[in-house]
Amino acid sequence: MPLWVRLFCVDVYIYCKTFADYLLDIWHSLKNLMPPYSETMKYNFVCLLLASALLIVATDQAWGDSLWRYGYSTQELRSNEGYNKYLKDRYGAAGIRLDGYLVGVTFLRTSGTGIGLEYSSTSGRIRYQTLNGEKQENTLDLQTLLLLLSSYRGNWEWSVGGGVNNLSRTFYGYRSSYITTENIKDQLGTRTSETLGTTGILQGLYHVFNSRLQWSVGARYIIAQNEIDSSDIRPGHNAKSVQETQNFDLGGLALLTTLTYRF
């Protein structure tokens, strides 16, 4: 095995282990120590911690260039099971597409590896006609923060990454299968619900133009699942229409195109 591959593997292993430990520690701390705070606040806190960790790591090493990136991502969600299947069965939403932008920064090492932070915001919508003929639109907004470890070889860039996501769903519908005059106000109309989840990615990018300004295209395999609890304001429902906890698979293959400037 070439020396650079072994070095890269060691780097990846150390980064992944450190990153995983960070994430686990953060999650356990948040879950155990911060129950009174909202999920959004936990999310923001995780973001700050990750950014801080990155800065510490970045300033503690001998780094080369930094890459500043803006890109576009498009992905089609699965619809075969869990909450994905529920959306397909109820709204006819097979293959919901999530599109959006990503921004990121990567600090390069002279060995051709890099560590970076990426934020992406993608959204999708389900447009449907109700049984009463009204036109409705449900929306999904997914924000993801990733720590990326990358390897640069010629025109190719390979990355692994992990992080957290915040999914916001704005849905028309109902909450409880037991609808009465006492809880009808909780059921009515369009409501927004947020859930947190974790995300892992594997990514390959090809630099079509590879100078100080890079134009790249590629693909990313995403592993992400968010749990939609039965007590959610817009939960999934089982075959009997009773609300139940379901997993929403936000993973799949995403296609990317990015512009990167190298300082």
Binding site: Q129, N155, I179, T180, I184, V208, S241
Partner: protein, 231 residues
């Protein structure tokens, strides 16, 4: 630097093409049924008949056949609002013969004693009984009959949309398409935990042996509540 070759342009162009594929203006046909139960499924089964005694007597409880002809006609109109929908699944409703469902007409004093509130306009139970308040106008009587018969058909929950007659308040006086599709395409496609033809006395689940109390819906001037009977 990567040269500007035909291959690279194709790859880059493919990426750009993705931008244009991400959106669609079409609307899918949803099946946004409303819920029909909080746990157990009740219904009469497809290809069956439901016989209603629309003016029943229960001498033990002092309920006598005391509805006038107009009230009986309005009630029948309310029940028949479901008729075409029920025809789709082979269910016929008739008002003569050995009754599956008994309808009692109570005055406000009797309704207060029965339902615990003088504001109850109608009540339906999984014991296959419907209680109607006497002395209401045609619109109210018909709408109450349609709503309570909807419960009797197996919808033991309510709609989340005020355009549906099975909304917990009487906002609408006619069945919506969602009311009809929820009954036919959703509820009657499910296997019932209790076939109402077979229900007599206490509810005991045939598979699990679990005993449950009967469901009762009470439609008042302030909306409809579903609860379990106390005995």
């Amino acid at each position: 630097m990567c040269p500007l070759t035909r291959r690279n342009l194709l790859i880059g162009g493919s990426g750009l093409f993705l931008f244009g594929c991400g959106d669609s203006e079409s609307y899918t046909a949803a099946k946004d049924y409303y819920p029909v139960t909080s746990r157990y499924i009740f219904h009469w089964g497809k290809h069956s008949s439901i016989v209603i005694d629309k003016n029943a007597t229960n001498t033990d409880k002092g309920y006598f056949s005391n509805a006038n002809s107009s009230e009986l006609s309005w009630f029948e109109t309310g029940v028949n609002a479901w008729a075409n929908t029920l025809n789709e699944i082979g269910i016929s409703v008739s008002f003569t013969g050995s009754p599956d469902v008994k309808v009692y007409w109570l005055n406000s004093t009797q309704m207060l004693a029965k339902a615990g509130s003088p504001y109850v306009l109608g009540q339906a139970t999984t014991e296959k009984e419907i209680y109607m308040l006497k002395g209401q106008d045609q619109t109210t009587t018909t709408a109450v009959a349609t709503h309570e018969f909807g419960h009797m058909l197996g919808i033991w929950s309510h709609s989340f949309d005020s355009n549906d007659l099975m909304y917990p308040y009487l906002n609408s006086t006619s069945l919506s398409n969602r009311d009809k599709r929820t009954l036919v395409d959703f509820l009657y496609e499910l296997s019932p935990d209790f076939d109402l033809h077979d229900v007599a006395g206490p509810l005991v689940h045939s598979s699990t042996g679990v005993s449950i109390t009967h469901y009762v819906s009470s439609l008042t001037t302030n909306g409809c509540q579903i609860h379990t009977s106390t005995g």
